[in-house]
Amino acid sequence: MEITLFGNTFMMPSDVLAAWVFSLILGGIVGFLILKKRRLGLLWEYMITTNHRKIGILYMLFGIIYFFRAGLDALFIRTQLAFPNNDFWVFQGEKYNEVFTTHGTMMIFFVAMPLLLGLMNTVVPLQIGARDLAFPFLNALGFWLFFSGSLFFNISFFLNMTPEIGWTGYAPLSTEQFTPGAGTDFYVFGLQISGLGTIFTALNLIVTIVRHRAPGMKMTRMPLFTWTSLVTSFLILIAFTVLAIALYLLMFDRMFGAGFFSGTEGNPIYWQHLFWIFGHPEVYILALPAFGIFSDVISTFSKKRIFGYPIMVLSVMLIGFLGFMVWAHHMFTVGLGPMANTFFAITTMLIAVPTGIKVFNWLFTMRLGVIRFTTPMLFALGFIPSFVMGGVTGVMLSVSAANFQFHDTHFVVAHFHYVIIASTILGIFAGLYYWYPKITGYVLDDKLGKWHFWTFLIGFHLTFFPMHITGLEGMPRRVYTYAESDGVTGLNFTSTIGAFLMGISMLFVIWNVYKTYKEGRKVGDDPWDGRTLEWSVASPVPDHTFDPMPVVKEIDAFWFAKAAGEKMPVTDKVRASPIEVKSILPFLMSMTFFFLSWGLTFAWYWMSILSALLLFGLLVIRALRDEREGFYGRREKDES
C-alpha cells in the first residue's frame, strides 16, 4: 500500500502497516495505564537507577518483549512453510529473508543475551554477598546501550528497511554492492551498540565476582551459576570484541569505500572467520550460564550438594577454552583443506567430553536425592535429554566429510535449535521460575507453570524433530517454499503445529504472571528451601542487602546453617561497597549512540557530528560529577 507524507510517497507493505497499528495501539494502552496509575515516577526511577536488581529487571523485561516479537517471526516462518508452494501473507522472497534474519538476530542478541545478563545482574551479587555490581554507573550504561542498540535494530522494520542478510551477515551479501539499502546498516550499528553494552556488563561482572565476594566466600565455594557467569564474561570480552571489529570493518566497506570483504582483493571468507570466532564462543556464552542455572536448580530440588563440584567448574572452563578453537566447523564446506577440517573436527568432538561430564554429574546429583518436581526442576529435567539429542547431532555435524551433506539444510536448523532452546531457553525459563520469588516476592503458580512446561517441551520436539528428517531429505534452510513432489509436506506441517504449540505455551506465562500478581500471595524469603546466599536476603530484594554481612565457611553455607538450626555468622568488617548513584546520564549517552548511528545510516552527517559532540559533552559531565568525590578524602583532610 502507498502512503503519501510531506509530498513523498512511501511503499508500505501490509505487514509493516500492521506493525505500526499494533505498536501504536499497544503503546497507547501502556502509556494510558502509566498515566492512569500515576506510574511516571516509577518509569523515571528505572531510567536513572543503577541498582543491580532493577537493571536486571529491565534486561529481563526487554528480553521477554523481544522474545514475543522474534517468536512471532518464527510463527510467520512456520506458517509460510506449512504447505508446499504456500503464499502466506507477504512472507515470500525478500520478506522471508527479512523475517528469518530478524528472528535469528533478535533471538540471539536481544532475547537470549539480555535474559541471561538480566539473571546474572540480579542473582550473581546476591549469590556471592556483594551489595551491588562493582561499577553501578557502568552497569546502567551497559543496559541502556543494549536498549539503544536493540531499538535501533527494531526500528528498521517500521521503516520497511529490515536487514535481509541472515543473522550471520555473510559477505559479500552484506556489502554495499548487494545490499545498498539501509537495512544492513541497521544490523551493523544495532549489534555494534548493544555489543558494546554487553562488553561493559561482562567486565563489570568479572570485577564483581573477583573482588566483591563476602568474607570467606572463596572462589571454590561460589555457586555454579556464579562460576558459569564468570567464565561466560571472559568469553564475552573476547568474542564480542572480535565481533565489534568485524562490524567496524564491514562499516568501512559499506560507508567509506574500503574493500575488506569483497571486490578483487577483499576476502569474503575473512568475514566468515571473524564472525565465527565470535559466533561459536557466543554459543557457549548462551549455554554456560544456563548450565549454571540448571546446576543450582537441580541441586536445590534434589536436596543435595552438586555432584563433582570441582569437575563441574573445570569442565565449564574447558568448554570455554575449547569454544575458541572450533569456529571453522561452521565453514567445513568453504574449502579450507583437509588439514584444517580435520583439526576443527577433532576439537569439536572434544567439546563433547566436558559436556558429557556435566550431564553425568547432573544425573549423579539427582541420584539418591530427595527430588521435588517443581516447575524449575521440570525445566531442568526436560533440558537433559533434549540437550543430549542436540549434542549428538552436533557430533554428527562435526564429522567434516559428512558435513557436506548436512550443510545449510534443515538438519542444521534442527541441531542448533535443539542445543540453544534446550539449554538457553529452558535454562532461562528455569531461572525465571526459580528466582521469580526473589525478584518479586511472589511464587509463580505451579500448575500453570507445568502447563507451560509440557506444552513448550512437546511443541519444541514436535517442531524440530521432523527437521532432522526433512534436512536429511535435502530441504535447504532459508528457502521459503518447497514442492509437493519433495515429499516433505507432512513433516513440515508437523513442525508448524509444534511451533504454534510453543506459541500457545507462552500464553500460559502471561496468564501466570497476571494471575500471580492478582492473587498477590507473598511468600517468605526462602520459598524453595534454597542452599545459596541469595535465599538469605529478603524477597523482593531491597536496595541495601547483606547488612550485616554473612561469613561463608563452606559450599552451600546457607543450607548447612539452616540444617544446624543456626543463623549464619556475620561480621561488620566489610570492604567498601560500590557507591550507589542515580543518574540519567547512562540513558542519554546511549541515545547519542542511537542518533550517531542514525546519522551515519542515512548520511545525515550533521546529526552524527552533533551526537558525537553531545556524547563527549556527557562524558565530561560524568567526569565532573563523579559520585566518589563526596566519598574520598573523608578520613584524611585533603592535603593540597
Binding site: 562493582a134 561499577f135 557502568l138 562488553i199 567486565l203 563489570n204 568479572i206 570485577v207 573477583v210 573482588r211 566483591h212 570480552l237 573476547i238 570484541t241 572480535v242 565489534a244 571489529i245 568485524a246 567496524y248 570493518l249 568501512f252 567509506f256 569505500g257 574500503a258 574493500g259 575488506f260 571486490g263 578483487t264 582483493e265 577483499g266 576476502n267 575473512y270 571473524l274 570492604r575 567498601a576 560500590p578 557507591i579 563527549f616 565530561v620 567526569a623 565532573l624 563523579d626 566518589r628 568525590e629 566519598f631 574520598y632 578524602g633 578520613r635 584524611e636 585533603d638 592535603e639 593540597s640
Partner: protein, 190 residues
Amino acid sequence: MNREEMALFKDKKMGFFIYLGVEVVMFAVLFATYLIFTPATQGPHPSEVFEAKIVILSSFFLLSSSGTLWLGERALKKKKQAFFLIGLGITKLFAIIFLGFEVYEFASFVKEGYGMSASVFMSSYYALVGLHAAHVAFGVGWMGVLFVQYFRRIPLTLFTEKLSIFAYYWHFVDIVWVFIIGIVYLPYLL
C-alpha cells in the same frame, strides 16, 4: 589513600585493565587484518606510500609523551605542583603535535591518490592507524578534563587515582604505537 579508597581504586584498576585487555583484542584483530591484506596485489606498494621522516618525527613526540607523563606523575607524588602541571601540559602538547603529523600524513596520502579505496592495504592501514589516532585524540580530551579536575581541587587521592588510570591508558596507546611502527611501517621502510 585509606583502606576503603584503596579498595575502590583497586576495583577500578582491575576494571580498567580488563578494558585494556578488550583493546588488546581489538588491535590484535586489526593487526591481523593488516598482515593478511598487506602488501596488496594491486594498487600502491607500502614502500611507495610510507615516508620515514614523518614516522620518525611523530614517533618521537608520542613516545616521549609517555616519559613526560611519567615525570608529571612523579612530580605530583612529590607535591611539586608546578612540575606536575608542566609534565601533563607537555604530554598534551606532544599528543597534539603527534595528531598534527597524523593528519598531515593521512592528508598527503589522500592527495597522492592513496585514499581508503586505493587498495585493500590502504583500507586496513586506515582502519588500524586511524583507530589508534582516535585513541590519541580521546586522550587529548581526557587530559583536558584532568586539568579541569585539578583546578576544581577534588580530593587529592581521587585526583591521583584518575591520573593513574589515565597513565595506564596513555602508556597502552604508546605500546600500540610501538607495534604499529614494528608491524605497519618498519618492514616497508628498511
